[in-house]
C-alpha cells in the first residue's frame, strides 16, 4: 500500500526536524519526505492539514495482562488501546501470570501479538525465575526468543548478592537491566507516600529512603558490574538528585517517569481514591515539581504510561486492599503534551521523551522518521481536547486518576509498518 501524507507538520525529534512536509510511504517504509518520488501513485492520501505527523510513540511500560490475567484485559483490547493512543512500539513488563521467565511464554506472546498486526511488542524478560529474586533466568535463551532487556520492573529488588550476579550475567551478553528502585524491607505493607496525606488518612507508608537506598545500591552495583541500567518509575526529588550525580560521573544509566507521577501528588488521593493507588506511590508536590524539571534537564530520559489495566472489582476496595496501577497507554500523548504546554516547551523537545529517547533506551530502531525506516507514524491534532471517560478509553481498564479530566491531543491516524492500524 502506498500512502501520501500531505500538508502535515512533520516533527521528528531525532533529526531535529519541525516543518510542514509531506511523507511518502511504500512497502511499509518511508521512502521520501518533501517531494514525491518519481511516478509515486498513492493508493491513499491522508490530508494532515493542521495536524502533527510524528514518529509512532514508544512506551516503556505497557501491561497486556497476558498470559494469565485475561480478566483484567486481553491482548486484543490492549493492543487496540495502544494504537488508539498513537503507540507503535512498547515494552511489556514480565509481571504476567506466570511471569515472562521462559522462552516458550515469550515466543507465544510475540507470536500472538504479531498476528494482530498492530504495535510492535517488546517483552521484558524476567531477571529472576518467577520474579522471586532467587535464581537467574536463562537470559540468553530468552533473548533469542525476543526479550530485548531484563528486569524486575515491578517485582521488588532481589537481595544484593543475587542482584549483583544477575547484573554481571546480563552484562556478559550486553543486555540492559531494568530495575524499579525500591528497597523491599522499607516497603513493608506501605501504600502511600510518607507525608502529610498518609498521616491524615492513616495509610501505611513507603518512605522516600526506600527509593534512595535502592538507587544507591543499584548505582554501586552498576559500577561494580559494568551493566547498563535503566531505572524504572523514579518518584522522588532526592532519588533524582542521585541519578543526576551518577550521570554526571558518566555512568551509563537512564531513567523514566510515569505520566501519573509527572502530574499528580499524594494530595490527589483525596478521600481514598483507589485510582491513585500506584507504585511507587504518588509523592509530595515538591517531588512532582522536581520530576517535571528533571525531565526538562535530561536527568529523566523518557515518559512512560506504566499502563496497568485493573478490573473494576479490584479497585472497588479500601485503598490499601485495592490493586495497584492505572490504565494509561491512551493518555501517554495527552499527558506528555500537557506537561509540555505547562512548561512552555517546543513540541520537538516534548515529543522526544515519548519517541526517540525511549527507543534508544529500549535499544530498538524506532521513534524516528528517517527515509528508509519502518513507517511507524502517529498523526494527531494538538489542539483537540477530549474528556477522559470510560467509553472514550478503549483499554479494558477504566481505572485512572485522570477520569473526567479534559486533556489535549487527539490521535487521528496511527500507522505501523505503513499500514493504517487506527483512524478516527
Amino acid at each position: 500500500m502506498k500512502i501520501h501524507i500531505k500538508n502535515g507538520r512533520l516533527i521528528d525529534p531525532k533529526q531535529g526536524v519541525d516543518t510542514i512536509q509531506d511523507i511518502f510511504i511504500a512497502k511499509g517504509k518511508i521512502i521520501a519526505t518533501g517531494t514525491a518520488p518519481n511516478e509515486f501513485q498513492p493508493s491513499r492520501v491522508i490530508d494532515a492539514e493542521s495536524l502533527i505527523v510524528c514518529p509512532g510513540l514508544v512506551d516503556l511500560s505497557v501491561r497486556l495482562r497476558e498470559p494469565g490475567l485475561e480478566y483484567k484485559a486481553t491482548l486484543e483490547s490492549e493492543m487496540e488501546a495502544a494504537v488508539a493512543g498513537g503507540v507503535t512500539s512498547f515494552a511489556c513488563p514480565p509481571d504476567t501470570d506466570p511471569p515472562l521467565d521462559e522462552p516458550g511464554l515469550v515466543e507465544m506472546l510475540k507470536h500472538r501479538a504479531k498476528n494482530l498486526n498492530q504495535a510492535h511488542v517488546y517483552p521484558i524478560g524476567a531477571l529472576t525465575q518467577g520474579l522471586r529474586g532467587e535464581r537467574l533466568t536463562e537470559m540468553a535463551e530468552l533473548n533469542d526468543a525476543g526479550c530485548v532487556v531484563f528486569g524486575q520492573p515491578d517485582g521488588l529488588l532481589p537481595n544484593l548478592r543475587v542482584l549483583m550476579q544477575a547484573m554481571r550475567y546480563a552484562s556478559t551478553f550486553g543486555f540492559s537491566v531494568w530495575l524499579r528502585p525500591q528497597e523491599i524491607s522499607l516497603t513493608n505493607d506501605g501504600v502511600a507516600h510518607d507525608g502529610e496525606v498518609a498521616t491524615r488518612l492513616g495509610l501505611p507508608t513507603v518512605p522516600v529512603c526506600a527509593e534512595t537506598i535502592a538507587i544507591s545500591n543499584i548505582i554501586l552495583l552498576a559500577k561494580e558490574t559494568g551493566v547498563r541500567v535503566h531505572l524504572c518509575r523514579i518518584s522522588s526529588a532526592e532519588g533524582l538528585t542521585m541519578v543526576r550525580a551518577a550521570k554526571q560521573q558518566g555512568l551509563p544509566m537512564t531513567c523514566d517517569v510515569t505520566i501519573n507521577h509527572l502530574h499528580l501528588s499524594d494530595m490527589d488521593i483525596g478521600f481514598f481514591d483507589s485510582n491513585c493507588h500506584l507504585m511507587p506511590p504518588l509523592r509530595g508536590l515538591s517531588d512532582r515539581n522536581a520530576l517535571r524539571n528533571g525531565l526538562l534537564d535530561g536527568t529523566i530520559d523518557a515518559i512512560c504510561s506504566d499502563h496497568a489495566p485493573v478490573d473494576e472489582d479490584a479497585k472497588l476496595l479500601p485503598f490499601g486492599q485495592s490493586e495497584i496501577g492505572a490504565t494509561g497507554v491512551e493518555l501517554l500523548l495527552p499527558l506528555t503534551l500537557k506537561w509540555g504546554n505547562e512548561m512552555r516547551l517546543p513540541l520537538l523537545k516534548v515529543l522526544a521523551k515519548i519517541t526517540s529517547d525511549p527507543a534508544e533506551i529500549l535499544g530498538i530502531d524506532a521513534g524516528h522518521l528517517s527515509v528508509g525506516s519502518a513507517a511507524d507514524i502517529c498523526i494527531f491534532d494538538p489542539g483537540y481536547y477530549w474528556k477522559v471517560t470510560a467509553s472514550a478509553i478503549l483499554s479494558q481498564g477504566k481505572n485512572t486518576p485522570f477520569m473526567g479530566m479534559e486533556l489535549p491531543g487527539g490521535v487521528k491516524y496511527t500507522l505501523v509498518n505503513g499500514h493504517i492500524v487506527y483512524e478516527r
Binding site: 502529610e196 498521616t199 495509610l203 483525596g270 478521600f271 472497588l316 476496595l317 479500601p318 490499601g320 473526567g404
Partner: protein, 319 residues
C-alpha cells in the same frame, strides 16, 4: 479530583459520620448538645425512647470488637431501632464476596444505617460512596484513619468536666502512628478551638509531619504533661509492644506510662481519659486508672449517649 466532603450533602447537612476532619464546629457541637439530652434518658428507669422505631441498623464488623459493637448496639436499642449484628471477618469475605457485594446485599434488606468497623483505612468512605443514597453510614473505626464517635464522646467528656474548650491544654499520649482514635481526637480538638494540643510519643510511634495536623510534638512525658488540663491515653496494641516499634512493654511503661508521679506534673485538676480497653502497667498505672482524676468510666456512659445522638441526627437528616 477534589470532591466535596463525602459526609455532607450539597446543603452541608450531615449524611454520614466518617471522620471528625473537615466537619464544622457547629455540627460537632450539635452532636454534643443532643447527647446531653440522651444522658438524661440513660439515667431513667425506662431507658428506651421510640425515636428510631422501625429503623434497621446493621453493625457491620469486618474487624472483631465486642466492646465497640456493644456500645452501638445498646445505643441503637435505646432508640428502639432493630439491630442486626454481622461479624463479616469470617463469613462472606472468605468466600470471595467483596466488601461492596456484602453491603449491597444488606442494603436490599431495607437497611437504614450501617455501623462499619474495618481493618482498612478508608473502608467506611468506600461504603458511604457506593451505598444507596438513603442509607447513612457511621464509621466505627477504619484502620489507622478515624474513629469519630470515640473522639466525640471524648469531647463530650472534656466539656462535661472542663466546660470550655478555648482555654485548654490537652496531651495525647502513646501510639499516635497507628491510632485512629488519636487522629479523630486531634481534628475534633482543633476544630472545637482547643488552643494547645500536644502529642507525646517515641519517634517510632509518630507519623511523619504530624505537626501539620496542628499539634505540638513531645518525646518527653515530663515536658509534655506540664500544666495540661486533659491527658488522653491511647491503647498500645499487643503486637506493637515489642519488635521494630518498641523494645518492650516495660520500657514503654517506664518512659511513657502514666503514673501518679508523671500525672502530678499536669494541672492539679487535670482529668485522665482512655478509650479502653486498658493495658494496666503498659500505658497506664492502676493507681491512675482508678484514681480520682480518672474519668474513664464516665467516658463509657457518655459513649452511649453520644452514639444515640449521632444515630438520631443522621436518621433525621433525610436526603
Amino acid at each position: 479530583m477534589i470532591n466535596r466532603n463525602p459526609q455532607l450533602d450539597e446543603n452541608g447537612v450531615l449524611q454520614h459520620l466518617l471522620t471528625t476532619e473537615g466537619l464544622p464546629a457547629s455540627i460537632l457541637l450539635h452532636i454534643l448538645d443532643t447527647a446531653e439530652s440522651f444522658v438524661g434518658v440513660t439515667e431513667r428507669d425506662v431507658k428506651k425512647i421510640p425515636l428510631l422505631r422501625g429503623k434497621s441498623i446493621f453493625n457491620l464488623f469486618f474487624e472483631p470488637s465486642t466492646r465497640t459493637r456493644t456500645t452501638f448496639e445498646i445505643a441503637a436499642k435505646r432508640l428502639s431501632a432493630d439491630v442486626i449484628n454481622l461479624n463479616i471477618a469470617v463469613s462472606a469475605q472468605s468466600k470471595g464476596e467483596t466488601l461492596l457485594d456484602t453491603v449491597n446485599n444488606l442494603s436490599a434488606m431495607n437497611a437504614d444505617m450501617f455501623i462499619v468497623r474495618h481493618t482498612q483505612s478508608g473502608a467506611a468512605h468506600l461504603i458511604a460512596k457506593h451505598v444507596r443514597s438513603d442509607i447513612h453510614v457511621i464509621n466505627a473505626g477504619d484502620g489507622s484513619h478515624a474513629h469519630p464517635t470515640q473522639a466525640l464522646l471524648d469531647m463530650f467528656t472534656i466539656r462535661r468536666y472542663k466546660r470550655d474548650f478555648h482555654n485548654l491544654r490537652v496531651a495525647i499520649v502513646g501510639d499516635i502512628l497507628h491510632s485512629r482514635v488519636a487522629r479523630s481526637q486531634i481534628h475534633a480538638l482543633t476544630t472545637l478551638g482547643v488552643p494547645e494540643v500536644r502529642v507525646i510519643a517515641p519517634k517510632t510511634l509518630l507519623p511523619r509531619m504530624v505537626e501539620r495536623l496542628g499539634v505540638h510534638v513531645y518525646h518527653d512525658m515530663a515536658k509534655g504533661l506540664k500544666d495540661v488540663d486533659v491527658v488522653m491515653m491511647l491503647r498500645l496494641q499487643n503486637e506493637r509492644m515489642k519488635g521494630a516499634n518498641l523494645p518492650s512493654p516495660e520500657e514503654f511503661f517506664k518512659y511513657y506510662g502514666l503514673t501518679p508521679e508523671k500525672l502530678s506534673l499536669a494541672r492539679r485538676d487535670a482529668i485522665v481519659m482512655h478509650p479502653g480497653p486498658m493495658n494496666r502497667g503498659v500505658e497506664i498505672d492502676s493507681a491512675v486508672a482508678d484514681g480520682k482524676q480518672s474519668v474513664i468510666l464516665p467516658q463509657v456512659t457518655f459513649g452511649i449517649a453520644v452514639r444515640m445522638a449521632v444515630m438520631s441526627i443522621l436518621a433525621g437528616n433525610q436526603v
